[in-house]
């Protein structure tokens, strides 16, 4: 049923670009697994995890979900609101620190004689 001659509609891009992105997703996933497999610890572990995560997410959104080819009106309408989640993360991180502090001061096991 292949009708490659027909005028294509919508998001049509070369197959090769998908394969390249696909390959990179595999490589990046392997890298993030390696972080755990080789027991990388501390700040290096967290920064590597975040780096590979952001790269993978970026590749999926930009190419598989076609955001790289959409108009900026749509891109900004969808990608800017999640920043609110990051703000929420910041607030809750501060709140968690405070909760932990109060728990350690008043409730932590072993501190009560």
């Amino acid at each position: 049923m292949a009708k490659h001659g027909m005028a294509a509609e919508g998001q049509v891009h070369p197959i090769k670009s998908y394969l390249v992105v696909w390959g990179w997703l595999f490589v990046l996933s392997a890298f993030s697994y390696m972080v755990d497999y080789f027991h990388v610890q501390g700040a290096l572990r967290w920064s590597l995890i975040l780096l590979f995560m952001v790269l993978k997410a970026g590749l999926i959104i930009a190419f598989f979900m076609h955001m790289a080819w959409e108009r900026l009106s749509l891109v900004t309408a969808i990608l800017i609101p999640p920043v609110a989640v990051l703000v929420f993360v910041t607030i809750m991180a501060a709140e968690s620190d405070y909760t932990l502090l109060t728990r350690e001061m008043f409730f932590a096991e072993g501190t009560v004689p």
Partner: protein, 240 residues
């Protein structure tokens, strides 16, 4: 960029209108998302709302983990599998990750062949995607069974902070539900593609509208989003 008043349809169709295009689109007193059908725009809006849901789940997990005085169970050991006399850390989760990424690749190809109106390849690739998704859910069921047999409950577990179980079941459960729904939709759309509904303009049973190959891309958007969420769960829950 031409002034707004003299916007012609040819200029409106320019996909590279850049930053000026943003206020031109929003201020032109007509459909904002040009070249984007209502179906696709609504899927994006839904995915945005889903982003907030998963964002809040991960946020709740972060809050629980940061504020507990009891040590958090070590995911590397909890999710290790005993294969060939050796404990391989996180191996099941790694395989699940690769399965889901493979499915994302086949989905992207399905979208591409859909727009090229290659019915067979589109349907086959969608069914392969669905098979990968079903495999993923199956592996997740195995993982849940293993953890439940080891004594993980939403309120307790043998290794540390009690919140581990509740966040684990909530986050992976919600994600698994999304994958399952995705598999169902993939199969429905693949069947329509294979039947040639979108070539003949057959009306759908539910909306009685004529479908287009764009539905493959919209289903694909949902599927890629499910993969996207897994990227974050993998990083924050399993690797952190």
């Amino acid at each position: 960029m031409a002034p707004h008043g003299s916007m012609t349809s040819a200029q409106a169709a320019d996909p590279h209108a850049g930053w000026q295009g943003i206020y031109a689109d929003w201020a032109s007193d007509r459909t904002v998302f040009r070249n984007v059908s209502w179906g696709k725009a609504m899927m994006w809006v839904f995915l945005l709302s889903d982003t907030f849901i998963f964002g809040c789940f991960l946020l709740a997990y972060m809050t629980a983990r940061m504020s507990t005085t009891v040590p958090w169970p070590n995911a590397t050991e909890v999710f290790a599998l005993h294969i060939g006399g050796e404990n391989i850390p996180l191996i099941l989760i790694a395989i699940m990750t690769f399965v889901l990424i493979s499915s994302s690749g086949t989905m992207a190809m399905a979208v591409n062949y859909g727009y090229r109106r290659d019915r067979k390849k589109t349907a086959v690739l969608m069914l392969v995607t669905a098979a990968f998704g079903a495999t993923f859910v199956g592996m997740q069921a195995f993982e849940w069974t293993k953890l439940i047999m080891e004594g993980v409950r939403p309120w307790e577990n043998p290794w540390g902070a009690a919140q581990f179980g509740s966040t684990f079941f909530m986050i992976t459960g919600f994600h698994g539900t999304h994958v399952t729904i995705g598999v169902i939709f993939l199969i429905i759309v693949a069947r329509k593609v294979l039947r040639g509904d979108f070539d003949r303009g057959t009306r759908g049973f539910f909306t009685s509208r004529k479908g287009r190959y764009e539905i493959v891309e919209i289903t694909g958007l949902y599927w890629h989003f499910v993969d996207l969420v897994w990227v974050f769960i993998f990083a924050f829950f399993y690797l952190w």
